[in-house]
Amino acid sequence: MFDKPYEFKYLNSQKAYGELFEKKHLLSFRSHTNHRYIVEVEEYPHDFYGIKYYLKANAQSDERYRILTGLNQATRVIRTCIDVMLYFINERNPLTSFIFIGAQLQSEDNYNNTKRFRVYSRIMENFFNPLKFSHFFIEKSSMYVILNKSKLKDDPKALQKMEKIAVEFYEIEGKNEEENPY
Protein backbone atom coordinates (compact mmCIF):
# COMPACT_ATOMS: atom_id res chain seq x y z
CA MET A 1 0.00 0.00 0.00
CA PHE A 2 2.77 2.44 0.92
CA ASP A 3 5.36 1.00 -1.43
CA LYS A 4 5.28 3.41 -4.37
CA PRO A 5 6.69 6.84 -3.56
CA TYR A 6 7.02 9.59 -6.15
CA GLU A 7 10.42 10.98 -6.96
CA PHE A 8 10.96 14.26 -5.13
CA LYS A 9 13.31 17.20 -5.69
CA TYR A 10 14.95 19.38 -3.09
CA LEU A 11 14.28 22.97 -4.14
CA ASN A 12 15.81 25.36 -1.60
CA SER A 13 15.81 26.54 1.97
CA GLN A 14 14.86 29.87 3.49
CA LYS A 15 15.83 31.33 6.83
CA ALA A 16 12.79 32.05 8.93
CA TYR A 17 12.29 35.22 10.94
CA GLY A 18 9.69 35.62 13.67
CA GLU A 19 8.78 31.93 13.49
CA LEU A 20 9.18 29.05 15.88
CA PHE A 21 11.38 27.27 13.35
CA GLU A 22 14.77 28.51 12.18
CA LYS A 23 14.69 27.47 8.57
CA LYS A 24 12.24 26.14 6.01
CA HIS A 25 13.26 23.61 3.37
CA LEU A 26 11.13 23.29 0.25
CA LEU A 27 10.82 20.15 -1.80
CA SER A 28 8.43 19.14 -4.54
CA PHE A 29 7.23 16.15 -6.49
CA ARG A 30 4.77 15.33 -9.25
CA SER A 31 2.18 12.58 -8.97
CA HIS A 32 1.45 10.11 -11.77
CA THR A 33 -1.53 12.33 -12.68
CA ASN A 34 0.94 15.22 -13.10
CA HIS A 35 -0.28 17.11 -10.03
CA ARG A 36 2.48 18.97 -8.28
CA TYR A 37 2.87 18.82 -4.51
CA ILE A 38 4.99 20.98 -2.24
CA VAL A 39 6.63 19.57 0.88
CA GLU A 40 7.75 22.01 3.55
CA VAL A 41 10.24 20.80 6.12
CA GLU A 42 10.57 23.20 9.01
CA GLU A 43 13.83 23.06 10.90
CA TYR A 44 13.41 23.66 14.64
CA PRO A 45 16.10 23.94 17.30
CA HIS A 46 17.66 20.79 18.78
CA ASP A 47 17.54 18.87 15.48
CA PHE A 48 13.77 18.67 15.36
CA TYR A 49 12.00 18.96 12.01
CA GLY A 50 8.36 19.34 11.11
CA ILE A 51 6.91 18.21 7.80
CA LYS A 52 3.89 19.57 5.94
CA TYR A 53 2.62 19.08 2.42
CA TYR A 54 -0.05 20.42 0.13
CA LEU A 55 -1.17 20.36 -3.47
CA LYS A 56 0.51 23.22 -5.32
CA ALA A 57 -2.83 24.19 -6.83
CA ASN A 58 -3.98 25.04 -3.29
CA ALA A 59 -0.84 27.01 -2.43
CA GLN A 60 -2.69 30.31 -2.07
CA SER A 61 -5.34 28.92 0.25
CA ASP A 62 -5.07 29.36 4.01
CA GLU A 63 -6.62 25.88 4.22
CA ARG A 64 -3.98 24.25 2.00
CA TYR A 65 -2.83 21.75 4.67
CA ARG A 66 -6.40 20.73 5.49
CA ILE A 67 -8.00 20.40 2.07
CA LEU A 68 -8.70 16.88 0.83
CA THR A 69 -7.61 16.81 -2.81
CA GLY A 70 -9.96 13.99 -3.87
CA LEU A 71 -7.23 12.67 -6.19
CA ASN A 72 -7.01 9.27 -4.47
CA GLN A 73 -3.25 9.30 -4.25
CA ALA A 74 -2.85 9.83 -0.52
CA THR A 75 -0.88 6.63 0.13
CA ARG A 76 1.72 7.46 -2.50
CA VAL A 77 1.90 11.09 -1.37
CA ILE A 78 2.35 10.07 2.27
CA ARG A 79 4.96 7.50 1.30
CA THR A 80 6.83 10.23 -0.59
CA CYS A 81 6.78 12.34 2.57
CA ILE A 82 8.29 9.39 4.43
CA ASP A 83 11.04 9.29 1.82
CA VAL A 84 11.60 13.00 2.46
CA MET A 85 11.92 12.24 6.17
CA LEU A 86 14.41 9.46 5.41
CA TYR A 87 16.35 11.83 3.15
CA PHE A 88 16.73 14.30 6.02
CA ILE A 89 17.79 11.56 8.44
CA ASN A 90 20.13 9.73 6.08
CA GLU A 91 21.63 12.55 4.07
CA ARG A 92 21.27 15.87 5.84
CA ASN A 93 21.32 15.32 9.56
CA PRO A 94 21.68 11.90 11.23
CA LEU A 95 20.33 13.36 14.50
CA THR A 96 17.02 14.38 12.93
CA SER A 97 13.85 13.87 14.95
CA PHE A 98 10.40 14.72 13.63
CA ILE A 99 7.50 16.49 15.26
CA PHE A 100 4.25 17.03 13.45
CA ILE A 101 0.56 17.67 13.92
CA GLY A 102 -2.18 15.75 12.15
CA ALA A 103 -4.06 18.71 10.69
CA GLN A 104 -7.81 18.87 11.03
CA LEU A 105 -9.96 17.93 8.09
CA GLN A 106 -12.34 20.69 7.11
CA SER A 107 -15.11 18.58 8.65
CA GLU A 108 -13.33 18.40 12.04
CA ASP A 109 -13.84 21.25 14.46
CA ASN A 110 -10.93 20.70 16.84
CA TYR A 111 -7.47 19.18 17.10
CA ASN A 112 -8.39 16.31 19.41
CA ASN A 113 -7.27 12.99 17.86
CA THR A 114 -7.81 14.05 14.26
CA LYS A 115 -8.20 11.55 11.45
CA ARG A 116 -4.83 12.58 9.99
CA PHE A 117 -3.18 12.09 13.40
CA ARG A 118 -4.57 8.55 13.57
CA VAL A 119 -3.35 7.74 10.07
CA TYR A 120 0.11 9.27 10.57
CA SER A 121 0.52 7.45 13.92
CA ARG A 122 -0.10 4.13 12.18
CA ILE A 123 2.43 5.00 9.50
CA MET A 124 5.09 5.99 12.02
CA GLU A 125 4.72 2.75 13.96
CA ASN A 126 4.96 0.73 10.74
CA PHE A 127 8.09 2.34 9.36
CA PHE A 128 10.21 3.72 12.23
CA ASN A 129 11.93 1.15 14.40
CA PRO A 130 11.58 1.71 18.19
CA LEU A 131 15.24 0.72 18.52
CA LYS A 132 16.17 3.91 16.69
CA PHE A 133 13.28 6.22 17.53
CA SER A 134 11.18 6.74 20.64
CA HIS A 135 7.57 7.51 19.75
CA PHE A 136 5.57 10.11 21.70
CA PHE A 137 2.22 11.75 21.20
CA ILE A 138 -0.22 14.29 22.58
CA GLU A 139 -3.65 13.13 21.56
CA LYS A 140 -5.49 16.34 22.47
CA SER A 141 -3.28 18.30 20.11
CA SER A 142 -2.87 15.48 17.55
CA MET A 143 0.86 15.95 17.92
CA TYR A 144 3.31 13.13 17.24
CA VAL A 145 7.05 12.96 17.81
CA ILE A 146 9.61 10.42 16.67
CA LEU A 147 12.68 11.14 18.74
CA ASN A 148 15.99 10.01 17.27
CA LYS A 149 17.83 7.97 19.91
CA SER A 150 21.19 9.06 18.47
CA LYS A 151 20.23 12.61 19.43
CA LEU A 152 19.56 11.51 23.00
CA LYS A 153 23.16 10.34 23.35
CA ASP A 154 24.27 13.78 22.23
CA ASP A 155 21.67 15.71 24.26
CA PRO A 156 19.58 13.72 26.77
CA LYS A 157 17.31 16.74 27.40
CA ALA A 158 16.43 17.28 23.73
CA LEU A 159 12.78 16.27 24.12
CA GLN A 160 12.22 18.50 27.13
CA LYS A 161 13.76 21.44 25.26
CA MET A 162 11.53 20.87 22.23
CA GLU A 163 8.55 20.26 24.48
CA LYS A 164 9.04 23.62 26.14
CA ILE A 165 8.99 25.38 22.78
CA ALA A 166 5.99 23.41 21.46
CA VAL A 167 3.98 23.76 24.65
CA GLU A 168 4.37 27.53 24.74
CA PHE A 169 3.61 27.91 21.04
CA TYR A 170 0.60 25.60 20.90
CA GLU A 171 -0.58 26.31 24.49
CA ILE A 172 -0.61 22.61 25.31
CA GLU A 173 -1.79 21.48 28.72
CA GLY A 174 -0.20 18.69 30.79
CA LYS A 175 -1.08 15.06 30.09
CA ASN A 176 -2.63 14.39 33.54
CA GLU A 177 -5.93 13.03 32.31
CA GLU A 178 -4.99 11.93 28.85
CA GLU A 179 -5.68 8.32 28.07
CA ASN A 180 -3.55 6.20 25.77
CA PRO A 181 -5.68 5.53 22.68
CA TYR A 182 -3.49 2.67 21.43
Partner: protein, 165 residues
Protein backbone atom coordinates in the same frame (compact mmCIF):
# COMPACT_ATOMS: atom_id res chain seq x y z
CA UNK B 1 20.72 -17.01 12.80
CA UNK B 2 22.73 -15.96 15.87
CA UNK B 3 23.27 -18.31 18.80
CA UNK B 4 20.65 -16.34 20.74
CA UNK B 5 18.22 -16.77 17.87
CA UNK B 6 18.95 -20.51 17.75
CA UNK B 7 18.48 -20.69 21.51
CA UNK B 8 15.09 -18.99 21.27
CA UNK B 9 14.00 -21.20 18.39
CA UNK B 10 15.07 -24.26 20.43
CA UNK B 11 12.95 -22.96 23.29
CA UNK B 12 9.92 -22.78 21.04
CA UNK B 13 10.61 -26.31 19.79
CA UNK B 14 11.14 -27.54 23.36
CA UNK B 15 7.87 -25.94 24.46
CA UNK B 16 6.16 -27.75 21.60
CA UNK B 17 7.71 -31.08 22.69
CA UNK B 18 6.69 -30.53 26.33
CA UNK B 19 3.19 -29.67 25.25
CA UNK B 20 3.08 -32.78 23.04
CA UNK B 21 4.26 -35.02 25.90
CA UNK B 22 1.58 -33.62 28.20
CA UNK B 23 -1.10 -34.20 25.60
CA UNK B 24 0.13 -37.77 25.10
CA UNK B 25 0.06 -38.38 28.86
CA UNK B 26 -3.44 -36.98 29.22
CA UNK B 27 -4.74 -38.75 26.12
CA UNK B 28 -3.43 -42.14 27.25
CA UNK B 29 -4.87 -41.58 30.70
CA UNK B 30 -8.27 -40.90 29.24
CA UNK B 31 -8.19 -43.79 26.76
CA UNK B 32 -6.61 -46.55 28.86
CA UNK B 33 -6.79 -47.27 32.55
CA UNK B 34 -4.30 -45.77 35.00
CA UNK B 35 -2.35 -49.01 35.45
CA UNK B 36 -1.52 -49.26 31.77
CA UNK B 37 -0.44 -45.63 31.64
CA UNK B 38 1.81 -46.07 34.66
CA UNK B 39 3.41 -49.19 33.21
CA UNK B 40 3.88 -47.48 29.86
CA UNK B 41 5.50 -44.41 31.40
CA UNK B 42 7.59 -46.50 33.79
CA UNK B 43 9.13 -48.20 30.73
CA UNK B 44 9.73 -45.02 28.75
CA UNK B 45 10.61 -42.90 31.80
CA UNK B 46 14.42 -43.26 31.59
CA UNK B 47 14.41 -42.31 27.91
CA UNK B 48 12.03 -39.45 28.59
CA UNK B 49 14.27 -38.26 31.40
CA UNK B 50 17.35 -38.29 29.18
CA UNK B 51 15.45 -36.51 26.45
CA UNK B 52 14.23 -33.79 28.84
CA UNK B 53 17.74 -33.48 30.25
CA UNK B 54 19.14 -32.97 26.76
CA UNK B 55 16.55 -30.27 26.11
CA UNK B 56 17.59 -28.45 29.26
CA UNK B 57 21.29 -28.82 28.44
CA UNK B 58 20.64 -27.35 25.04
CA UNK B 59 19.40 -24.23 26.81
CA UNK B 60 22.59 -23.96 28.83
CA UNK B 61 24.68 -24.30 25.68
CA UNK B 62 23.07 -21.33 23.96
CA UNK B 63 22.06 -19.25 26.95
CA UNK B 64 23.78 -15.88 27.03
CA UNK B 65 23.02 -12.21 27.25
CA UNK B 66 20.34 -11.17 24.79
CA UNK B 67 21.41 -8.07 22.92
CA UNK B 68 18.68 -6.60 20.75
CA UNK B 69 19.66 -4.24 17.96
CA UNK B 70 17.81 -2.84 14.99
CA UNK B 71 19.05 -5.69 12.77
CA UNK B 72 17.76 -8.54 14.91
CA UNK B 73 14.79 -6.78 16.54
CA UNK B 74 12.07 -8.11 14.23
CA UNK B 75 13.45 -11.67 14.38
CA UNK B 76 13.61 -11.66 18.18
CA UNK B 77 10.22 -9.99 18.50
CA UNK B 78 8.61 -12.65 16.33
CA UNK B 79 10.37 -15.39 18.32
CA UNK B 80 9.14 -13.80 21.55
CA UNK B 81 5.55 -13.82 20.27
CA UNK B 82 5.83 -17.49 19.23
CA UNK B 83 7.40 -18.46 22.54
CA UNK B 84 4.70 -16.58 24.48
CA UNK B 85 2.04 -18.42 22.50
CA UNK B 86 3.72 -21.81 23.14
CA UNK B 87 3.89 -21.12 26.87
CA UNK B 88 0.30 -19.92 26.91
CA UNK B 89 -0.78 -23.15 25.18
CA UNK B 90 0.80 -25.26 27.92
CA UNK B 91 -1.20 -26.18 30.98
CA UNK B 92 1.04 -28.10 33.33
CA UNK B 93 -1.40 -28.46 36.21
CA UNK B 94 -1.04 -32.23 36.45
CA UNK B 95 2.76 -32.15 36.73
CA UNK B 96 3.08 -28.91 38.67
CA UNK B 97 5.24 -28.82 41.78
CA UNK B 98 2.28 -28.95 44.17
CA UNK B 99 0.96 -32.15 42.61
CA UNK B 100 4.27 -33.91 42.27
CA UNK B 101 3.70 -35.97 45.42
CA UNK B 102 0.61 -37.48 43.82
CA UNK B 103 2.69 -38.89 40.97
CA UNK B 104 4.02 -42.45 41.53
CA UNK B 105 7.55 -42.37 42.98
CA UNK B 106 9.09 -44.13 39.93
CA UNK B 107 7.85 -41.32 37.67
CA UNK B 108 8.67 -38.39 39.93
CA UNK B 109 12.19 -37.92 38.61
CA UNK B 110 10.77 -37.49 35.10
CA UNK B 111 8.12 -35.07 36.33
CA UNK B 112 10.76 -33.07 38.18
CA UNK B 113 12.94 -32.96 35.08
CA UNK B 114 9.90 -31.88 33.09
CA UNK B 115 9.37 -28.96 35.47
CA UNK B 116 13.07 -28.02 35.31
CA UNK B 117 12.95 -27.94 31.52
CA UNK B 118 9.72 -25.96 31.61
CA UNK B 119 11.26 -23.52 34.10
CA UNK B 120 14.28 -23.09 31.83
CA UNK B 121 11.94 -22.13 28.99
CA UNK B 122 10.15 -19.65 31.26
CA UNK B 123 13.53 -18.17 32.27
CA UNK B 124 14.49 -17.65 28.63
CA UNK B 125 11.10 -16.10 27.94
CA UNK B 126 11.53 -13.72 30.88
CA UNK B 127 15.06 -12.86 29.79
CA UNK B 128 13.83 -11.95 26.32
CA UNK B 129 10.88 -10.02 27.75
CA UNK B 130 13.27 -7.96 29.90
CA UNK B 131 15.53 -7.31 26.91
CA UNK B 132 12.54 -6.04 24.94
CA UNK B 133 11.32 -3.89 27.83
CA UNK B 134 14.77 -2.34 28.14
CA UNK B 135 14.27 -0.76 24.69
CA UNK B 136 12.11 1.85 26.44
CA UNK B 137 14.64 2.46 29.23
CA UNK B 138 16.40 5.29 27.47
CA UNK B 139 13.19 7.10 26.50
CA UNK B 140 13.06 10.46 28.28
CA UNK B 141 10.24 11.28 30.67
CA UNK B 142 7.86 14.03 29.68
CA UNK B 143 5.09 15.98 31.41
CA UNK B 144 3.30 16.56 28.14
CA UNK B 145 4.13 13.81 25.70
CA UNK B 146 3.00 10.23 26.27
CA UNK B 147 5.45 7.52 25.32
CA UNK B 148 4.26 4.70 23.09
CA UNK B 149 6.10 1.69 24.45
CA UNK B 150 7.85 -0.87 22.29
CA UNK B 151 5.13 -3.41 23.17
CA UNK B 152 2.33 -1.01 22.18
CA UNK B 153 4.01 -0.11 18.91
CA UNK B 154 4.60 -3.76 18.03
CA UNK B 155 1.09 -4.80 18.96
CA UNK B 156 -0.43 -2.05 16.89
CA UNK B 157 1.77 -2.13 13.77
CA UNK B 158 1.06 -3.93 10.53
CA UNK B 159 3.65 -6.73 10.48
CA UNK B 160 3.59 -6.89 6.68
CA UNK B 161 5.65 -3.69 6.50
CA UNK B 162 9.39 -3.61 6.98
CA UNK B 163 11.00 -0.86 9.01
CA UNK B 164 12.53 1.73 6.74
CA UNK B 165 14.71 3.18 9.48
Amino acid sequence: MTSTGIHLQKNIDAAGVLNGLLMLYRGLKRYFNNTFVHIFFAVVAPFLYLFLLSLKNLHKKYLGEIIIDSDNYVTYRNLYDKLSQSIQDMNIDDVSQSDIDKIPFYLRYVAKQYIRTYTAILDSHKQLENALKSIDDDAPKSDFFTLRTEAELWESRNKAYEYLR
